[in-house]
């Protein structure tokens, strides 16, 4: 069997996805045996000119991590799409926009004003410095996941994708047995299915934040009033955050049956807060619980705001 050719690229990313490929430890030696990694800026020396020189579909598989934040990110997504037979949106930023999608709550100018101060100091996409011509890729008005700019074949959820998921992907690659287009490398079910905590769907009368109280180690965090994103989040990681006494933050994105992760979770939460009784006193009590949610968007759309039905903030 001919060796597979693969590429790994980061767009607007943190590098955690690249590191997650090493989390499979010794299996990486099998990967190297079965495949040539022709492009991987984090760990190898091929340049953009080398990628441009690749033939159409020359790479069998490209693992693309990171969101589309700059013009360069978009150009690289388009270039790699033409060079890759199979293109995977790898990790939360490529899949649903990731944490950095929270930037869509601000405009380009607001972000620049916060980071660089007055407009005279802002970096420019083209500048002449003492006769030298220098360019920077434009910072786009809105951050988007990979599949909004190119066709995507696979999704590998998680921030970063967990070891078991990566290992499964590599095993398929090594066996030359990649699954059909559209495959999501994670569980079809939600995180609660793989969580060791006991869930009784108890009524919530008070929202607790992780630093406010030490949780009971056996009971469901949501039952205790901690906002755990488990019910609306795709499983596959083994519920490692709840096992560490911390609520799930939803990094793997929505389950297969959910379109909008945040609204699905709000719906679940509302049903746990409400009693079904319809009277003034009860409504007030329910409102008081809801009011304890201090950061709705950052809690319910932590990793999926760029993928949500909300889009972004618009300004006149």
């Amino acid at each position: 069997m001919a060796k597979a050719k693969i590429g790994v690229y980061w767009a607007a990313a943190c590098g955690g996805c690249d590191c997650s490929l090493l989390e499979v430890n010794e299996q990486i030696l099998d990967v190297i045996e079965a495949a040539d990694i022709l492009f991987w800026p984090c760990a190898a020396d091929a340049k953009y000119e080398d990628v441009r020189a690749f033939a159409h579909n020359e790479l069998d598989l490209v693992l693309f991590n990171g969101a589309i934040r700059t013009e360069e990110n978009r150009e690289m997504a388009e270039l790699l799409r033409t060079r890759a037979r199979w293109l995977a949106a790898y990790g939360s930023c490529a899949h649903t926009g990731g944490v950095i999608g929270l930037a869509n709550l601000s405009t380009h100018d607001e972000i620049f004003a916060t980071v660089f101060g007055k407009q005279a100091n802002w970096p420019k996409t083209h500048v002449e410095v003492a006769g030298r011509s220098l360019d920077l890729p434009a910072f786009l008005e809105r951050l988007t996941p990979l599949d909004t700019v190119v066709d995507v074949d696979y999704y590998v959820p998680g921030c970063p994708p967990p070891r078991e998921v990566v290992s499964g992907l590599f095993s398929a690659l090594i066996a030359g047995d990649l699954p059909p287009k559209g495959t999501v490398f994670a569980s079809e079910k939600n995180l609660c299915e793989e969580c060791a905590r006991e869930r009784k769907q108890e009524r919530i009368t008070r929202i607790l934040r992780p630093h406010e109280q030490e949780p009971d180690p056996e009971k469901c965090l949501l039952d205790q009033g901690f906002v755990c994103m488990g019910p609306a989040t795709r499983g596959g990681c083994g519920a490692v955050c709840p096992a560490a006494n911390m609520p799930c933050t939803g990094c793997a994105g929505p389950t297969a049956r959910i379109r909008d992760q945040g609204s699905a979770m709000l719906n679940t939460l509302a049903s746990l807060i409400g009693t079904g009784e319809e009277n003034e006193e009860q409504w007030e009590a329910e409102d008081a619980v809801i009011a304890q949610l201090a950061d709705l968007f950052g809690t319910f759309y932590r990793f999926s705001s760029a993928h949500s039905l909300f889009g972004r903030r618009y300004h006149e």
């Binding site: 020396d45 700059t70 100091n121």
Partner: protein, 488 residues
Amino acid sequence: MSETIRQIRIDPITRLEGHGRIELFLDEAGNLADAFFQIPELRGFERFCQGRQGEDMPQITERICGVCPEAHHFASTKALDACYGAPPPPRARKLRELLYNAYTFSDHLLHFYYLGGPDFLVGPSAPPQERSIIGVVGKVGLELGSEVIKHRGYGQRIIELVGGRPIHPVTGIPGGQSKGITTEERDEIQSMAASTVEFAQTTLGVFHKMLLQDKTYKRFISDDAQILPTYYMGLVDETKATHFYDGEVRIVAPDGSEYAQAPAAEILGQIAERTEPWTYVKIPYLKDVGWKGFVAGSDSGIYRVGPLARLNVCTHIGTPLAQQEYERYMEFFGGGPVHATFAYHWARLIEMLSAAERTAALAEDPDLMEGALRAPLGNPGRGVGVIEAARGTLIHDYDLDDRGLVRTVNLVVATTHNVAGISLSIKEMAKDVVRNGKVDRGVLNLVEMSFRNYDPCLACATHAVAGQMPLVVEVRNAGGEIVERIER
């Protein structure tokens, strides 16, 4: 100014964390006229962290960098400790330090074998496709290669056991840790940590054999072009030993004299920054020394951080095996401060050994298994957290409102401190190796080797430094009382 007749772009620069590009401008004779180190990425954390719940910050800000998430996680957690006036109890603090030293070991290992080291372990002009961990395994053999993979895995496994996940840990909370470890986990950590000490020594053996004897390395470690007398910054403990998790920030001048030593909150006032229209990174310098352009020397406010800097600001290492190697290092250079940029590689491995020794010692500490994991919290306010990331001093500075929501955030990030030094190193190297228009990929890789010394994280680098924050810092004691108020 000589007229530019040729522009060469290295894009992207590789074997580092994040996006970077180098533009070289050659004159008519084919020699370097100018060089620019650009960072073409920005994500805007300072903006979208506003309005978030303070306790979410350790998990949000670690997404700045997935290579050093532990550094952001705990700089953030320590800032929250300060915001809530709640230093963690001994058990929580030692769990954090255990994880943190395992991270430092693992991150330094990653640089030597995967990122910066292949230039020497495989060779600076080797074919690009071999100049990577794959070529390293080919060169050092599968046996040592497997040990590399195994021990990186040990570091990551310790992070996972203490932090809940191997990448982007979750257990840091204001005033403590969300969980402890079981005795089985402690035993596993002890045995892995002991092995990391041996492996760090093995790695130093590799360094002595394969780098210190290598003619390219020998050339650059003593080459004038790669010797930059600058200021240095790093954390020291109360004995002025190097410390990764905590301490005061110490700055020394190019002649080794102390320029400043103070808590991080005060040091923030000593740093100014400049913006350039051609990069998304801001360039910090020592305010009172001043910006003199991209030049080294005691009149220039350029300072450096990271392993080279840390060994220049401390008086000793604080662990026995690494101390021996530190003495050997200082003897080699005839005493400190060491200004040779290529000494970063050696300094990094001395720290890797020290981190392994500290991990092994902490793994034996009985405090890990007993006592409270959380301190009682005061009311939220302003707080500064400092830590030594693998790449240098990292400061998180938050202002929380009375609901514990983030009003403003200031991130002073390791690689940002080094941007001026990196730019200077690139320019000096390019001037040295690009001659008479002869430029091939081997030559361009030599240019890239100058920045790899710093192990830069460019995803980290594009963050606001000083200047955007409100003007008052309050330092609180364990009881949450304000003991110091600093204005700038």
